[in-house]
Amino acid sequence: MRDVVIAGVGIHPFGRFDVGYREMGEVAATRCLEDANTDPADVDLILVANVGAEMAKGHNIFGRVRHTGAPVINVEAACASGGSALALGASLIESGAQKSVLCIGVEKAPRGFIAESGFESWQIETGLGVNPLYFAIQADELIRESDTTVDDLADVSVKNHGHAVHNPNAMYRKEITRDEVLDSRSICDPLRLLMLCTPNEGAAAVLLMHRDEARRRALDDSVRLTGLGLVSKGPDDWFVPGASFRLDRTRLTERAADLAYRAAGIGPDDVDVVECQDTDSASELLAYSELGFCRRGEEADLLRSGATTIGGRIPVNVSGGLLSKGEPLGASGLGQIHELVTQLRADAGPRQVEGARTGLAHVMGAGHNACVVVVSR
């Protein structure tokens, strides 16, 4: 992809707040348009990613920004909602169908378990509708099939919380220790509470613009969305809420990553900084191999080497990831783009990845959705 400029980004911090989703979405959208030095009337299309709010959610948000007459479309794909909105917007711009698309992601998730992840009623009523169970099955499999240990799972959380100390938009900004993670309550073996992200609240926005339009407006066109891979369930994929899985199952993230790398004309070795779907600690480790940063079975080695910590070869979740920011489902994917753009602009302060020119974002959601995005400068 050559013509999709990220003209601006905006964020409402992730956490727990006394305001509604409309206000949070408005804050992110307004900050994004200010960042892009673009008037709301110059946006051709608004895509709003959200899972749990009311009908016409995007209309209710942008209705607080300006009544421009531009169409608003709501996008939902569970935890991959933000990535899906971004993918749709980028495709419309690359094709020439739109000049500017504002993607807004927002969520005000209730506390506790995420309900209604697509389970059949028999799964819910018999107690199988437990999201962390499905992550734990993957975590356990990773431990059985590689030298990954429970300590490694704890260390992913330790790493990401260490990164979040320097992110003012994160929910949890305190360093934690391996023992604190291991001593936290067991949710589904081997996952402890502090190895899982918290569904929470927040918003993020990204303004996409065609390169020609950005130049015509004399806007900064140096940060571009150059690669995109969006996939849903194939014949042999498995994720929440699947009741069974094939022993030789395939991986959605691998397919999405392959598409994104091809579109960008790069490989994993060209990536400088990563924001990936660390719904739980094991999901981050699995992403290391599925995104091509190591071979299958070498995930823990990559973590232990320090490569995925800021200062390492391929820093992952430098924002603190979902483990530290929390996961406002509709906003999380666009929050990743906010972080990558901040990094590529060299505006990330103490959590800056030196010389970052290529970033990769990855989300994965219930119902079998994965989106990988490459952002380059």
Binding site: E120, W122, I124, E125, V130, L133, E141, D236, S244, R246
Partner: protein, 141 residues
């Protein structure tokens, strides 16, 4: 044969398309489907095959299977009718290339050999579960 996808199995005693009817506490078979074209086994059953649209036939998943994964659930998820604590595991049916997630009876251990059985998870409500085959043999004696 063709089978419809079950909408619910809760409170039923006939398996509602998920398992073969049997009294609570006895062994059963999970009702899967096998595609005549791509040979994939699917659970719950589907017709036609959701992978290749080929015709399917019934396949019954019976033990022995291996309990690959096991965990205790201590907090009930939204909408659950089962009372925690309860146990959930993954039973691996190597002959079918398939692993199934389900409730596990109290005595089963990880890596044990298990079979599907009719699990009365609250009075009058059945679902399928997995139990150690040794446990079933003890019950038979």
């Amino acid at each position: 044969m063709t089978m419809s996808r079950p909408s619910t199995a809760v409170g039923s005693t006939d398996g509602s398309g998920l398992w073969v009817q049997a009294p609570p506490g006895t062994a059963t078979a999970l009702l899967a489907s096998r595609c005549l074209v791509c040979r994939r086994t699917a659970f719950p059953a589907c017709s036609p095959c959701l992978a290749c649209a080929g015709p399917t036939v019934e396949a019954k998943l019976v033990g022995p299977a291996r309990l690959d994964y096991l965990t205790d659930i201590t907090v009930a998820p939204p909408g659950a009718l089962i009372e925690p604590p309860y146990r959930v595991g993954v039973a691996r049916f190597d002959d079918f290339g398939l692993a199934v997630i389900g409730l596990v009876s109290g005595a089963a251990a990880r890596n044990s050999t298990v079979e599907p059985f009719v699990y009365e998870y609250r009075p009058g409500s059945m679902t399928f579960g997995f139990r150690e085959i040794a446990e079933a043999e003890r019950m038979t004696r």
